[in-house]
Symmetry: C2
Subunit: 137 residues, 2 copies
Amino acid sequence: MDGFVIDPRLAADTIAVGDLDLCSVRLMDDSRFPWLVLVPRRTGLSEITDLADGDSRSLMDELRLAVRVMSELSQPDKVNVGALGNIVSQLHLHVVGRFLSDPAWPGPVWGSGASSPYPHHAATLLVERAAQLFSRA
Amino acid sequence: MDGFVIDPRLAADTIAVGDLDLCSVRLMDDSRFPWLVLVPRRTGLSEITDLADGDSRSLMDELRLAVRVMSELSQPDKVNVGALGNIVSQLHLHVVGRFLSDPAWPGPVWGSGASSPYPHHAATLLVERAAQLFSRA
């Protein structure tokens, strides 16, 4: 993968779930929201226009897969998808399960209050369940 | 297009730019941020997983086109892309040019303060320029 390294800040805020063909999948360590992050394993990407055409198709396929996994994982009222990169410029996509009862609804999760890390045992279970759903899909 | 009607709230907040094969393109009437909205002209869509496979590829192509147009239109420091739908559930994608100097940076634009409509002449110019960039691309 040509020396691809995940951004250290992104790595610190998330927990590895597994790798798809293009993207690494990570769980945001914030128990307030079920939140996956997809990171294409390509160097030097910031905007989705930086992707090769073929990779952009893979990204859409993997994004749709992640939305389906999120729906099954958390049964949310809505899924939010975003690629911002204002803080971490390395291209990454957020897939967030949202609930009418969550602390940021109907606003965005980004920039909303302080994150609340999972207890270790809960993170482990969630990661295992998410990985299982990805492998079955 | 099988009776597709754009959500009235989305229509009220935006100005028509033109139609691509799949999506209608609109300019958010908020002069704080250069902001395009793509709305796939299909009925009954809420999540990107509701799109047919072929339409999802078109959406990725048109989204990348819109990011390129936004980059040329406003020369932003970063482009933000999002599909939230917490308020308007009809599937729509935001493509927002962001600046280190803008009033919401580095936070998201969604839910950030009150929108500030364009003066009519400025909106007209922006829409014309955006339409020209789409047609050239």
